[in-house]
């Protein structure tokens, strides 16, 4: 039986947004933690740790997110777990986010002039303190705009979790479409909902980037 597309269906879609947001936040939080660790490995002086970080980043940036999700989902079997859409989606997106965040943050950490490291060392700070007290506060500022960009990418990426059966916005759309058979309406609304989530973030990222560039220009002018 075909149902009419009514406010109930619309409401169902709007409510599904929370699972998309929740999945994004989970993946961003854990991906951020893992990504930070990998960025540190990547800039460490040890060749081995650099290599480990490079391979990790290359593998996750060089393969499709969809297949990363498939591998986590089907791989759960191998370690004796039942494939669960929640766990698989969260884990798969965490891996994905960590690789992209690690690469961006590595760039930000390495953008800090070597003189800052030397100065921190000359002050007698240990390596962790050089990083925490001198390098990170400076890297933090330039890291924000690209990090927001990755959050948008991650938010869009959560739509692929629908393919392994995680009920978020895109999967909710499939369910509503199966019941109402109004694909144009349903997917247009879903697109608008995603847009409403992503666009403000994109604008925020652009705004902060522009402000950062302005500040940078002022610094350059002052130095000139």
């Amino acid at each position: 039986m075909i149902r009419e597309f009514s406010t109930a269906e619309l409401w169902f879609l709007v409510l599904a947004v929370r699972w998309t947001v929740l999945l994004t936040l989970i993946a961003f939080t854990f991906g951020g933690l893992a990504g930070f660790a990998i960025a540190i490995l990547r800039i460490a002086r040890s060749r081995v740790s650099q290599l480990v970080a490079i391979v990790y980043i290359k593998v996750f940036q060089g393969t499709p997110l969809l297949l990363q999700l498939y591998l986590v989902y089907f791989g759960a079997n191998l370690i004796g777990l039942r494939p669960d859409p929640w766990v698989s989606a969260a884990m798969g997106l965490t891996f994905y986010a960590s690789a992209f965040l690690a690469e961006v943050w590595r760039g930000c950490l390495q953008a800090i002039p070597a003189g800052q490291w030397d100065a921190a060392r000359a002050l007698g700070l240990s390596y962790p303190r050089q990083l925490r007290l001198v390098i990170m506060p400076q890297a933090f500022k330039i890291a924000i705009p690209p990090t927001v960009g990755i959050m948008v990418q991650l938010l869009k990426g959560t739509s692929l979790a629908s393919i392994i059966g995680f009920t978020e916005l895109t999967r909710a759309a499939q369910m509503v479409n199966n019941a109402t058979f109004r694909p144009l309406t349903v997917y247009a609304i879903v697109a608008i909902l995603y847009f409403a989530l992503c666009w403000p973030l994109s604008l925020l990222g652009q705004h902060m980037e522009r402000r950062l560039n302005l500040k940078h220009l002022q610094v350059v002018k002052l130095q000139a």
Binding site: T63, L66, V190
Partner: protein, 237 residues
Amino acid sequence: MRAVGVARLDGDCVDYIFQFGFVWREFDQLLLGAWLTVRLSVLAMIFGLAVGILGAQAKQSRWGILRVATQVYIEAIRNTPFLVQLLLIYLGFPSLGIRLDPNQAALLAIVVNLGAYATEIVRAGIEAVPRTQIEAGRALGLRPWQNLRLVILIPALHAIFPALASQFIMIMLASSVVSVISAEELTAVTDTIVARNFRSFEFYLTIVGIYLALSLGFQAAFALIDRLLFQRWSRYT
């Protein structure tokens, strides 16, 4: 053919025995799938770049409405997931009387998506060409078309080549998503095989390796092209 080593249920824990022999037997199918993925990506890149060049022109148009429309297109594409764009085109467009088979819908969706990113990349490239250089070209009596090609496009392409190269690799990886509408490419080919023999992990692990090899291979090839092609041009510019 022995069909040994299927997953055995052992209490709560499943003993899974890897059977890569299955993969080896179907490997020619996977290679065909990889070829289809590359072909789809190359086609999409050609059309996407054309859209990008048109889009970049439209963004600098004299008519405000065209500029606004281009900006709306870019923002709409960049702030919605590719999967939703794909499903909107494949499932939604028939209600508008536009009926596409999976392969056409997949190509169209990728081109529409790529076009938005390419527009921004090409525009950045055009902005990289100093205005005075464009005016100098005009002053030398070049026709608008010649000016566009020789003074704007070629130096701009030089500037944007690295960005386009990484966009190509991203599109190649993202194209695995079109398997959900059964368009022909590597992931869809694999889905079909897996539906027959249930060796999902082995097959998906193998094609992850193929995708990785493709993206690293193309990365190396683009770096080489960049060195060979543009280093020569940059001597003149």
